[in-house]
């Protein structure tokens, strides 16, 4: 994904105060970080705020990045994951009051997950159906525990290898694989009940 030498040069320019280099880093990684945040936090607004926080932290700690210890994308993902965990801990109390009938999607007209599960009528448009499916999977993903969620997001949505995920999560590779399996299985069970006919 990244050329180590190019990224290292970019980081050095940033540290030297080159704003163009920093803008290049932001342009390169904002999409990836925003998607991780969106899938983990579940809300577009939260994802936007968290993405900004990630870049602020990156900007402040850029000098601590050591290319010899790992890829820049791993370092960036680690910062993102740590902030997401902090965010999860801060908002844990709020989420405990949520019920399954709460609207998880950011769209105002989106139905609660329980209604989405019951509504199996044929959608008029394939695009609309695809959007509904995506929202349902996104809502189901939010039901996973944070440990399982982060593992499947990094593996199946960000295509990171097990070693990188182990570095980011600071757990052994075996644990990473186990979490990925459990996360996928739980998601599969939840969505199997929802889309029994499709499956």
């Amino acid at each position: 994904m990244e050329d180590v030498q190019v990224v290292a040069m970019l980081v050095r320019r940033c540290i030297a105060g080159d704003s163009a280099a920093w803008e290049e880093i932001v342009q390169t990684y904002n999409r990836r970080i925003y998607n991780i945040c969106y899938r983990f936090a579940g809300s577009g607004d939260d994802a936007e705020d968290l993405t900004q926080e990630v870049f602020i932290k990156m900007y402040r700690t850029l000098s601590s990045y050591d290319p010899s210890k790992g890829a820049f994308v791993t370092w960036v993902t680690t910062i993102t994951r740590n902030l997401l965990v902090d965010h999860f801990r801060k908002t844990k109390q709020d989420r405990m009051t949520d019920s399954i009938d709460s609207t998880v999607s950011e769209h105002e007209d989106a139905q609660p997950l329980s209604e989405q599960i019951q509504d199996q009528s044929a959608p008029p448009d394939t695009h609309v159906r695809h959007r509904e499916v995506s929202e349902t999977v996104h809502a189901a993903l939010a039901k996973l525990s944070p440990e399982l969620r982060e593992a499947v997001i990094l593996r199946d949505l960000q295509d990171m290898d097990y070693r990188e995920i182990a570095t980011v999560l600071k757990v052994p590779e075996g644990t990473v694989k186990s979490r990925i399996n459990r996360g996928r299985a739980e998601l599969g069970r939840l969505l199997q009940r929802t889309y029994r006919q499709v499956m």
């Binding site: 803008e23 936007e48 189901a140 996928r184 299985a185 739980e186």
Partner: protein
Amino acid sequence: MPEHTNNGMQCNEFDALLTDALDGVLNGTELERFQAHAGSCKACGPLLVEVEAGRNWLKGLTEVEPPANLVANILASTTGVDTQRLRVTARVPQPRVSWLEHVQATISGYLEPIWATVRQPRFAMSFGMAFFALSVGLTVAGVKPADLRQISLRPTAIRHTYYATQARVVHYYENVRVVYELQAAVRRIKRNAEPAEPGRKQNRPGKQINERNDTTQQPEQKQERNYSQTENHLVLASAHVGPCLKSCDLPVVSVTTYRRMV
């Protein structure tokens, strides 16, 4: 996970190979054993189906598009400079602004917060009431807006207006009954207090001395005494003594004259 052995493979071994199997990196004998265990184990078979389904659902999720202003917000919050905006403003040629517009923009920059406050309904109502009270007051005082048009702003006219207004105010003030009565009472009190003052002057010798030396005062009675009344000269009226007069007996007139003694 239960520790069952099917086809030479335990369930925990199956669990460990699950990710590799789904990634397609298992081959040969290991793959055969894995597939055999999945087919025969009642726990691992459904697990494989669920895991595979979950992975497929996740792979079906597409990337979401970040908000359009995300990069600009990030740059603004990190470097403090909105580079995109700067680039846009750098490309667009700035229109020429006259000094009058510049002054207007500067003034409006200061007045805008005040104006924004004034525009609030609660303040607007207060200003409305103040304007109403002012207009009623001016009407009662006899000030007409039409008169304002005829006001001359020449210095002499302004001075004249000032003195005329001052005279009107003093005249009005002195004609107020309460003021008049007060002034009359003060005058009465002063008049009553006046007779006590000459007595006090006689009791002060120093004052008498000063008064004696005061040359601007009227001449004292002593000085008047210099005019002697003691010398009464009898002046006979002389007349041309003719022969007839000599023979006639004329009456003698006594005349008293006052001469000042030098």
